[in-house]
């Protein structure tokens, strides 16, 4: 089952790259959509057979690969990674549909896009460190091209920055992985087996640091975050969507899958640091967002702010807080993906993202504007929508562990609300501008990408147990490892 998630998009990428002529754009698009929809269906099938009771890995596939050094082809999924698979499945289809707006070199674009999708599925299913690392890097490379070739005016700078940053991060992470491999003395890269080994605390602390750098860059955690606004601003819309919705989650997923279960003792010493940087992300990200003049940058900084809640939740390590953190990963994926889709819609029409040049869109493009308002309220944590559940659980779960930090973080919610409301006031309200009066409202294709997100954000806001029941056993196992209650 899980292999098909990885190999269907990969096979489709190869088919497009090798066999489809570049002028058959519709064929390319058809193949791409099919190759992202099938995994979505597979994820649905897995969901229908999901065992809600177990903490163990499900749908495991384990084959020997390079036995001499203990590398395996080992896939499996638990509640935490499966929630990420659901997110990946949904967002990869929607971003694929959003990619229909790409108007040059479609063949390369979709081939690279499918490689990117392969990498994402791989990261969330791999249970062997080397396999994990390969997929981790596999995401990086197509991303670089997708930003560098189809991006905005400063795409090369942005792509390079993204590449160097994540490259340095992943190299250091590899150091950490290798250190674990040697230290454990088990001669295996099996991530589950490595959790059983004991590591001396001093070693664990350093190994944790190495892994931290790799994951923190992806999240991104302050002060490693400056690649994100640049990458977002220059990336084409669907790539921004994937970047915000799924790629950032790879970093926090890494903490959950690798750092915390394998090095729980080190995590305990690192926890106050996590809480602190989480708080910085929340408050600092929100304040920087408030002063942004570029709409896409504003959304990018809001992502930084929101990911801070994940870090805070990890630090607190109570069942509520970690559930909230995972919920935030999922919810933020939907909401930020939606925001980037919406920014793309207006950018396609106006060719500007400058907030000062946009006004009166409630009248100019009422449907788009209403959905934009919905997404903004979702992002600022309006109760009844998914973001609230996540922030609520993180804050309630952290309050008894880091009281002062949690109180300040809660105040960060006001800052987030203020920049979204200011943005809505400037862009959506007011008299429409002559310049944009004739703009068409959201097209059916755009609505196809937006409506599912509206429904999902509302669904997961009202019925959170839909997802929480899946992630619950795995979260509890992480909490147990960290010695929480």
């Amino acid at each position: 089952m899980l292999s098909s998630l990885i190999f269907i998009p990969l096979a489709a990428a190869l088919v497009i790259a090798l066999f489809v002529p570049r002028d058959k754009v519709n064929v390319i698009k058809a193949i791409s959509v099919t190759a992202t929809v099938i995994p979505l269906v597979v994820v649905g099938l897995i969901w229908s057979k999901w065992d809600y009771a177990t903490q163990a890995m499900q749908f495991v596939e384990q084959h020997s690969w390079i036995p001499s050094v203990g590398v395996e082809y080992f896939l499996g999924t638990d509640g935490i990674s499966f929630s990420m698979l659901i997110l990946t499945a949904i967002m990869s289809v929607l971003a694929c549909i959003a990619s229909f707006g790409i108007k040059h070199r479609e063949k390369e674009f979709f081939a690279l896009y499918l490689v990117l999708v392969t990498g994402m599925y791989g990261v969330f299913t791999a249970l062997d460190f080397i396999l994990f690392y390969i997929f981790w890097e596999l995401v990086l490379v197509p991303m670089y091209f997708l930003i560098g070739i189809w991006g905005g005016p400063r795409r090369e700078y942005a792509a390079l920055k993204f590449f160097i940053y994540t490259l340095v991060g992943s190299v250091v992470m590899l150091v950490g992985i290798l250190a674990l491999y040697f230290q454990s003395g088990l001669g295996t890269f099996n991530m589950l087996d490595l959790t059983k080994a004991a590591y001396p605390l001093r070693f664990a602390w350093w190994a944790f640091l190495a892994l931290y750098l790799g994951f923190a860059v992806k999240v991104p955690v302050f002060p490693f975050h400056t690649w994100l606004p640049d990458a977002h601003v220059e990336a084409p819309t669907p790539i921004s969507v994937i970047l915000a919705a799924v790629l950032l989650k790879m970093g926090t997923y890494g903490f959950l899958r690798v750092s915390m279960p394998i090095l729980p003792e080190a995590m305990k010493t690192w926890a106050p640091f996590f809480a602190t940087v989480g708080l910085i992300n929340i408050v600092y990200g929100a304040f920087v967002a408030l002063s942004q003049k570029d709409l896409k940058k504003l959304v990018a900084y809001s992502s930084i702010s929101h990911m801070g809640f994940v870090m805070l939740g990890f630090a607190a390590a109570t069942p509520q807080a970690i559930t909230g953190a995972v919920y935030q990963m999922f919810s933020h994926g939907l909401i930020s993906g939606m925001l980037f889709l919406l920014v793309g819609v207006v950018y396609d029409r106006t060719h500007t993202r400058e907030i000062a040049r946009l006004r009166g869109f409630y009248i100019t493009m009422p449907v788009w504007a209403t959905i934009m308002a919905f997404a903004s309220f979702a992002s600022l944590g309006l109760p009844g929508l998914s973001g609230f559940v996540a922030e609520f659980l993180v804050l309630v779960g952290s309050l008894n562990v880091y009281r002062t930090i949690t109180i300040i973080a809660a105040l960060g919610i006001v800052v987030v609300a203020s920049f979204y409301l200011l943005m809505m006031r400037r862009i959506l309200m007011g008299e429409p501008m002559e310049e944009w009066k004739k703009l068409p409202d959201a097209s059916p294709r755009e609505m196809v990408t937006l409506i599912p997100l509206i429904l999902l954000i509302a669904l997961f806001g009202i019925l959170p147990s839909t997802l929480i029941n899946i992630i619950n056993p795995s979260v509890l196992s992480v909490v147990a490892k960290l010695g929480g209650s």
């Binding site: 081939a111 160097i164 340095v168 190299v171 590899l174 690649w227 009166g360 203020s418 006031r425 509890l476």
Partner: protein
Amino acid sequence: MREYAWLIAFIPFVSWLLIAFFGHRFKHGGDKIGIVALTISLVLATMVLVETANVAMQGEALGAHGPALAAAAAQAPEMKGESPDIGPTFDRSITWIKIGSIDITTGFQVDPLTAVMLFMVSLVSLMVHVFSQGYMHGDVRYTRFYATLSLFTAAMLTLLLADNYILFVISWEVMGLCSYLLIGHWFEKPGPMMASMKAFITTRIGDVGMLLGIFLTYWATGSFAFKDIAAATAAGKVAGPMLTAMAVLIFMGAVGKSAQFPLHVWLPDAMEGPTPVSALIHAATMVAAGVYLVARSYPIFHLTGEALAVVAYIGGFTALFAASIATLAQDIKKVLAYSTISQLGYMVMALGVGGYTAGVFHLLTHAFFKSLLFLGSGSVIHALHTQDMHEMGGLSKKMKVTTWTFIIGTLALAGVFPFAGFWSKDEILLAAFNSPFKLLFWVGILVAFMTAYYMTRAVTLTFFGKPRDHHKFEHAHESPSNMTVPLIILAVFATFSGLVNSPLTGNWFAKFVHFGAEHGETSLLVTGLATAAALLGILVGYAIYGWNVIDRKKAIRAAGPLYTALKNKWYIDEIYDATVVRAYMAFSAFTAWFDQHVIDLVVNVVGWAGYQMGLACGDFDLEVVDGAVNGVGAGVMAGGSRIRRVQTGYLQAYALALFGAVILGIIVYQVIGG
């Protein structure tokens, strides 16, 4: 019937969906859907109220739930552990979130407090729905208006039905959203644009405090459900500073929502919204939700004297402070807005001094007469197209129904016998009189005087004297029946609703809605002082504005700085703008600058250095890597030569780095691990 109480909130919710998505297909934009829905809700709410009342009265007769037992409990400290009786409570809940053994439930409950509130909200909302047909006639966003009105009502009713803080907070915020959308109904104009944003952000500051208070309560009591929390606090599980912190933080939510000082600044600005919205949301229901919050959280509050003192003094100060501004406001809606803030302060003060029944009672009567006054002002604005009282005058000749209902509302608000406000205001003053907060009793008397004064002023300026703007007066006319009928219905309630807690009905209300046993003996002194204050206020108001006994220009000059300060609303907005808002925006600008010019600079310098190194390393000929790169590149990158060149350099550096990582890993292992 009570098991179906959730329908009262659910029907307006369905109405919202219908109007929002299909309203434009209907002839009148879907307004009838909302009216029908609210009518059903009102019928259901009435049935629920009657049933709850019956159950309560039976219970009292049997002595099972009645105040008598609770009084005994209060008198006997050894029986501590029972939460004070709030009357028969019907509760249904289900699991909402389950994390391991942690079970977070949600559900609805009906107790006397909920039952009376449900009735009031659905009645006022229905009146506003009907009134808006006339007032909003021909509006560009008529359908959107009705849709949001329905959603608001659904949220408010859900809030009342919630049996736990989570559902409470959800509906609380959805109300805030609707308030935001309706204040900004005419969003192309700068006023509503600014006001809607200000309202949302200001109330959110209070909301954060409330959320933290709720979270603290959760950790202290292990639950979000009201009944569990009541049981836990009554059992003495929480005490001391923790209890006070919980109560004060929760109270912050009420300070924001009910526009108490210092977060009151959004409510006057919220008058930018359509007047029916002001009547429903910003007078009768949503702003009163803060008072309801305190009443609902009384199992926490009543155990902490410190928190009650905070509540009492904030309420009392707000009542006085807002009344002072209302005495000089020139815009008829602003008079009513400051009056609302002042009256909300009154209710908050009542709860603070221990007058649970008094606070809730005033909340109900106030909802009727204040929505009446707002709708009445709407009728005037509809006729004159101005809100400035200096352009009004003499309207009693042309708008009989509006004038008389407005006067009824004024008498009720001023607290003149036998109108509704008389009874509820008396209860509050009595509670203050019997409490240790003697100062607040006198504040209450002073506010009663000021209230009567500024309302008389408003009535006189608007309806009596000579028309000051003849052009506008010429075109004035009485409003259509869909506007006047709601006025008449509300006037009936403004007149008679106070009687439910009068000797005439044997103080029925106090027996129905109570928190434990409240022993308030009626005091003729209190009643006499309150009535005297009200009559004096009316007299002074009419003397100045009706008989013109003093030269107002001279009086203004004599008042000097006091007049200027009052006219400028004590400069609170200016002070906030100059301090908090400015510092906030400056800090944001600084962080943005810091991010771009400090952090990113470091990144770029490091990146540049790395790039140079990468190029240098590129001279290292790594055949294998280069070949692999070109192999991939040939398929993918044809045409992107520049990119490819850079990329090739990078992949070489990358391979080197990988190689280095392996070496480093081994070294780390040797040094640290070994």
